[in-house]
Amino acid sequence: MENEKHHIVSYSTYLLILALLLVLTVVSVAVTQINLGTLTVTIALFIAGIKSALVLAIFMHLKFDNKMYAFMAIGVVLLIGIMIFITFLDYLYR
């Protein structure tokens, strides 16, 4: 059982990702100030999804580490998704 090798991510990559995250934050604030009806929720969550994917992949090294971690993280997100979906089967059709 060897320890996994470590990938050193450069400072500039982190700064680039940070800039991207800040831009996305501003975009999501700006977009939600315009009234888009039900789309607002979808867009806000979509942007949040992209932001979290960036954090997971780069800041949390999922992109560079053993694929097992990415597999577990995605699995858990799916699990929560299915739980919400099944719970909504009740509330949507009451």
Partner: protein
């Protein structure tokens, strides 16, 4: 018994722990989504009462602090101890600023008697009660995680200072970083759900 070091094991362990944290908040997201679905109008109105500027500033603070923690891990791998300490110190300061912001934000709300069980809340609709109940509970639980994360990072800071953590022995540092990113990750969702969806 001789103890051998297994950095990968502690990293897997940390990740597994993060997964449980995700499900802890996952349960709350289920509650949030159901009540939002049942009280769309009230949630819509209540969200207006939260200050988007404070929320956005706090989001930016957390994102920056997340980046500094990530960079400090690169710094320690590159044997740049001073820079790593500087970055971690920045993270701690930013985390504290986040908490101070949160403190004032809650304080103002509580001054206006908007808190669970208050007379004002009792007169408002049930949707409002649920929205603010979830607001306090979820951001409160998140703030608790910020505090735990800060303690964790402070420990790492001290250990780097004492050279207990170095370029070939930084598993604890990495795990503290992962924890802090998770706190950030949760806020990425809390922010639009409470401040933006109006």
């Amino acid at each position: 018994m001789e103890t051998h070091r297994d950095d990968t094991a502690s990293k897997i362990g940390m990740w597994l722990f993060l997964l449980t944290e995700m499900l802890l908040f996952g349960g709350l997201f289920i509650v949030y989504s159901i009540y939002r679905y049942k009280n769309q109008e009230a949630f819509h109105q209540a969200a207006h009462e939260l200050d988007v500027v404070v929320g956005t500033v706090n989001t930016a603070i957390l994102l920056i602090s997340s980046a500094t923690v990530a960079m400090s891990i690169s710094a320690i791998q590159l044997k740049n101890k001073k820079f790593a300490l500087f970055l971690l110190g920045t993270t701690i300061v930013l985390g504290l600023v986040f908490l101070v912001n949160k403190y004032f934000e809650w304080g103002i709300k509580i001054q206006h008697h908007i808190y669970p069980g208050s007379e004002v809340m009792a007169q408002r609709g049930q949707g409002d009660i649920l929205f603010f109940g979830l607001y306090y509970f979820m951001t409160g639980l998140h703030a608790l995680h910020i505090i735990i994360g800060l303690v964790f990072i402070a420990v790492v800071f001290a250990r780097i200072w004492n050279d207990k953590i170095s370029h070939d022995n930084f598993a604890l540092h990495e795990n503290a970083g992962l924890y802090w990113h998770l706190v950030d990750l949760i806020w990425i969702f809390l922010f639009p759900l409470f401040y933006l969806i109006t």
